[in-house]
């Protein structure tokens, strides 16, 4: 086996080892990398940033623990930004394991908002976000399409009570709130195909502003909806979350994880280049022979 063949057929365990080493080193050694902001991420931040105190946004936590690393930072960044701006949030989850994700995120974000912080030069005093006043978690119901259509009629149809069993009418946040007409936008943080339901049965039928937070591999699939105006913004994967954190001046898990992702990508690219160099040189040698 010559050098070119070796370059082409490296044992995959070397790939695993090298990638693991790079991930561990870049995770352990702290250094920052510049984050480039895209228009599709900026439009979500700008939309939420320009809302007035007391406005209600709707966040669908439609992901399972398997995409937690990418999706959780998005939820944290958007929800904390909204709470700091004193917006109200209606949370729901149309994915089976989503309630666990939403419950965890709400607990963490509530703790974080208790501490006063300065973002983009503005000081926000710490405050307690209260269930039923600042937010409500509707919980999970199966069949996303039906739930989305049902909420378009009235939130009380699919969710007569919130996740913790309290009737919706007992919550001050829900006073006068019937359906999507009373909310400013829907942000679907999704790692599932439920996002198609939000576009087709939600935005298509009820015409509310819809923003998407998607896993990295899903993002490219939803650009057609961005260009058609059905979706006003997309956060794609960890990078999307890091972009939002940077715009909100609230660096967290995503910005922290970007250096690991960046160098892992570079390693993958280097392996692809190495394999191709070996392949092309080996083919040239074979032709000469």
């Amino acid at each position: 086996m010559n050098i070119f063949d070796r370059m082409m057929s490296l044992d995959r365990r070397w790939v695993f080892l090298f990638l693991a080493l790079v991930c561990v080193i870049t995770h352990v050694v702290p250094f920052s990398i510049p984050i480039i902001i895209t228009q599709e991420a900026k439009s979500i931040y700008s939309f939420i940033d320009t809302l007035k105190e007391g406005d209600i946004i709707f966040m669908a936590i439609d992901y399972d623990p398997n995409s937690l690393a990418e999706m959780h930072p998005m939820t944290y960044a958007i929800a904390e930004h909204a709470f700091r701006k004193k917006l109200k949030i209606i949370f729901t989850s149309l994915s089976v394991n989503g309630p666990g994700m939403a419950d965890l995120a709400i607990r963490d974000i509530s703790d974080s908002v208790k501490i006063g912080k300065t973002y983009n030069g503005v000081y926000y005093e710490g405050r307690e976000v209260v269930n039923g006043i600042d937010y409500i978690f509707l919980g999970y119901k199966p069949y996303p399409a039906l739930v989305i259509v049902g909420m378009g009629q009235n939130f009380r149809l699919p969710f007569p009570t919130d996740y913790y069993g309290t009737p919706l009418d007992e919550h001050p946040i829900m006073q006068g709130v019937q359906n999507y007409d009373q909310i400013k936008c829907v942000v679907d943080i999704s790692g599932t195909s439920g996002v198609d339901m939000w576009i087709t049965y939600g935005q298509g039928r009820y015409n509310f502003p819809l923003a998407l937070g998607l896993t990295g591999v899903m993002a490219a699939d939803y650009y057609p909806y961005l260009n058609s105006g059905q979706v006003f913004g997309i956060l794609g994967g960890l990078l999307g979350a890091a972009q939002y954190e940077k715009m909100a001046d609230n660096p967290g898990r995503a910005v922290d994880g970007m250096r690991v992702q960046l160098f892992a990508h570079i390693v993958i690219i280097l392996f692809i280049v190495m394999g191709n160099v070996g392949f092309l040189l080996s083919r040239r040698k074979a032709r000469k022979d």
Partner: protein, 213 residues
């Protein structure tokens, strides 16, 4: 009758649901909501069937000590323990409590989340290995795919210096022009396919869902 009744029901409800979408009257909305409840009821029957099937297959595996029967034990334990923990026995017997239950939350936070997150994170390693082996410039199309993938992966790399701007512009063009055109074509094709299949089912041309008997 056994075959004709389902066909008639499918035709009536299929045609009704098409027209209902375009009728914003209160009574139309009421019937629509009423029918939505039926879907939940049918779904509950399907779930009961699925649980029965899972228990039967797993129990059969354990009983006959088939290969990897230990996994079947874990499957059944997981199924029944989570259901058991999901209820609030302390205050209201058999009222659903879910994540408010201490054990349910701990099982979810410390078993479910790490397991699923670990499985998915392993994917990065397999993608790296697969990309190294599969991404080869064997033909013109494969080369185009390879170059596009590299540009999109490198588009936000902050260490590219003056090339970064062009990389970002090219990546945006790739996503917004060729990618968009292909995706739109697929979406429209799939949409038309769904309409065609739905019409075939409603009109009774497609009858596979009825089974063979």
């Amino acid at each position: 009758m056994k075959r004709q009744l389902p066909l008639v029901l499918v035709f009536i409800f299929g045609v009704f649901m098409i027209f209902q979408y375009f009728v914003p009257h209160e009574s139309s909305e009421w019937i629509f909501e009423f029918l939505l409840d039926w879907i939940y009821i049918i779904g509950i029957f399907a779930m009961a069937l699925a649980i029965y099937s899972l228990v039967r297959v797993s129990w059969d595996k354990i009983k006959h000590r088939r290969e990897n029967w230990q996994y079947a034990v874990m499957t059944l334990l997981g199924l029944f323990l989570m259901v058991l923990f999901g209820f609030d026995y302390g205050r209201h017997f058999f009222s659903a409590e879910g994540l408010q239950n201490f054990m349910f939350r701990h099982f979810f936070d410390y078993i479910m989340i790490p397991i699923q997150a670990t499985m998915f994170s392993l994917l990065a390693f397999f993608i790296a290995s697969a990309a190294y082996r599969a991404f080869r410039a064997r033909s013109l199309l494969a080369s185009l795919l390879l170059i596009s993938a590299l540009i999109v992966m490198l588009r936000f790399n902050p260490y590219l210096g003056p090339v970064a701007e062009y990389m970002e512009k090219t990546a945006s063009w790739l996503l917004n022009v060729p990618n968009l055109a292909a995706k739109r074509g697929i979406i429209i094709g799939v949409g038309l396919g769904i309409v065609a299949t739905a019409l075939k089912v409603i009109l009774g041309i497609e009858r596979n869902y009825l089974g063979k008997d």
